[in-house]
């Protein structure tokens, strides 16, 4: 049996783990540190609520602003949309009902996509011709997802949300992105719809011609993407990018940009269902929106010096934490952290 005598002999996995623990970014640390007192505050308020001694009205919007600000930083660094972090974390640790969290999550993801959309379209990184057929399917199915999600009992949605978030973690761990997938021949449907384009790769100045394949299969997958986006109030970037990039063969930059723009259409349809059902509380929406936007603004600046592989792990840990919390909450089990 081998004995690990000194630090040099530590197996690489332990060394990597130690390094990871030591280098946990301040945003993640601050976010995790904030969540425990937030949950305690929520529990206290639930007890005090019946006696009419709830905390001051401005406390929750302020806490929400702080948490979503950190979330915005982490989301940008990890290359995910704010919605996928927002719904499991806020529904897990804040006193808001899941109905309002989903409505708010959709509006947060929608606002982020609306803000990014014009720039991405003008730079010709988001492709309108690729987005229109995908959005038609995803947005229609998002309505169905939203209606089903609002009709089902909360504990079922909470459990399914937890399972979905843990599934996203597995997807993030397993899926490999391809900067420039090889597409030998465009399929008939994408040829007929003339889904192709040219963009300039800034790092090399090269003009890249791109086209896609497996369009019918991709469109079929947008059915599931739309339903899940509507049902859980998640932005669906985590699903859009693998479908566009790995399956349909769009270059990574085009996939990420088109996915972000696509959210502005998919989330619009689902957001209207939640809005019309009364699932939107301005006191939750505006602080969250401001927090995520300011956080994203700072995140973009940190991104210039951050290490992508490391920040990807931050998001995976955070999603694992939030997914486990949502799952245990839905199943009525204790959450030990």
């Amino acid at each position: 049996m081998k004995v690990w005598g000194d630090r040099e002999e530590l197996p690489s996995v332990i060394r990597t783990g130690t390094l990871f623990a030591l280098r946990l970014g301040p945003p993640l640390f601050a976010l995790l540190m904030l969540l425990t007192p937030v949950e305690a505050l929520a529990a206290n308020e639930a007890l005090a609520g019946s006696a009419g001694e709830a905390v001051s009205w401005w406390v929750w919007p302020l806490v929400l602003l702080a948490v979503t600000f950190l979330m915005g930083i982490v989301a940008v660094l990890g290359g995910v949309g704010g919605g996928v972090l927002f719904v499991p974390i806020i529904s897990g640790f804040f006193p808001f009902h899941l109905d309002f969290v989903r409505g708010c999550g959709l509006l947060v993801a929608l606002s982020g996509a609306l803000a990014a959309g014009p720039g991405l379209l003008k730079a010709n990184l988001a492709s309108l011709r690729l987005a229109i057929p995908s959005a038609m399917i995803a947005s229609t199915c998002a309505i169905i997802g939203a209606m089903v999600g609002l009709a089902l009992p909360t504990h079922i949605i909470q459990t399914a949300l937890g399972a979905t978030i843990l599934g996203i973690v597995v997807l993030m761990l397993m899926a490999r992105k391809s900067e420039m997938p090889e597409v030998r021949r465009a399929d008939n449907l994408s040829s007929a719809l003339r889904i192709c384009g040219v963009y300039t790769e800034e790092s090399t100045g090269e003009q890249i011609n791109w086209k896609i394949h497996r369009t019918p299969t991709g469109m079929l997958l947008f059915v599931a993407v739309g339903v899940m986006a509507g049902m859980f109030g998640l932005g669906a970037g985590w699903a859009n990018v693998p479908v566009l990039n790995l399956l349909m063969g769009a270059p990574l930059k085009i996939s990420v940009a088109t996915s972000k723009f696509l959210l502005s259409i998919t989330d619009t349809s689902a957001a209207w269902i939640y809005l019309n059902q009364g699932c939107v509380i301005p006191m939750m929406v505006v602080p969250s929106l401001v927090g995520i936007m300011l956080g994203s603004f700072i995140g973009v600046r940190i991104l210039r010096v951050a290490k992508p592989a490391f920040v990807r792990w931050i998001v995976i840990v955070l999603l694992l934490f939030a997914g486990a919390k949502a799952l245990t909450k839905g199943l009525g089990l204790p959450f030990i952290v």
């Binding site: 609306l114 014009p118 947005s139 011609n209 209207w272 301005p282």
Partner: protein, 152 residues
């Protein structure tokens, strides 16, 4: 024969409607966000009294939406039915409901963008994309209309 997939002309074709969409989206997004932030300021500063007092909001948001609407209506609004769909339009005199103007603009801007590009697509005789754009307008309008009601 020209390869349609490698032609840059295709990309240039896409530019007209794409840039038009981008411009409409940019304008709508800025208008929506600015109005949302202004109305929220009006709401929390107390310039316009809310229907649900600020210090009472947190006592309701843990409830499922149907129960929330019933309770809020019973305690504060006193309407014949809890306010769903576009009922907020009738309560714009209240600080909290005022915020829905900005939210509705953000929700409606995509419909405007699609409507804006349809003439360009028609001019190019791009019938597949005209059909898809019209379908999207119908889907989003249906979602926004409030016709699609849900019950727990």
């Amino acid at each position: 024969m020209t390869d349609p997939m490698s032609s840059e002309a295709n990309n240039q074709d896409a530019q007209d409607e794409q840039l038009l969409y981008a411009r409409a989206l940019e304008i709508g997004m800025y208008i929506g966000l600015v109005i949302l932030f202004i109305t929220f300021g009006v709401y929390v500063s107390g310039i316009m009294a809310p229907a649900v007092p600020l210090d009472r909001v947190s006592t309701y948001w843990h409830l499922p939406v149907h129960e929330y609407l019933e309770t809020v209506n019973q305690n504060h609004l006193h309407l014949a039915h809890p306010p769903t769909g576009w009922a907020w339009l009738t309560m714009l005199g209240k600080g909290d409901f005022l915020n829905f103007i900005g939210i509705a603009i953000l929700g409606g801007v995509t419909i405007i963008c699609y409507l804006a590009i349809i003439p360009t697509l028609l001019r190019k005789k791009d019938s597949a994309y005209v059909a898809m754009a019209l379908f999207e307008v119908i889907v989003l309008t249906l979602a926004a209309s409030g016709i699609l009601a849900v019950g727990h």
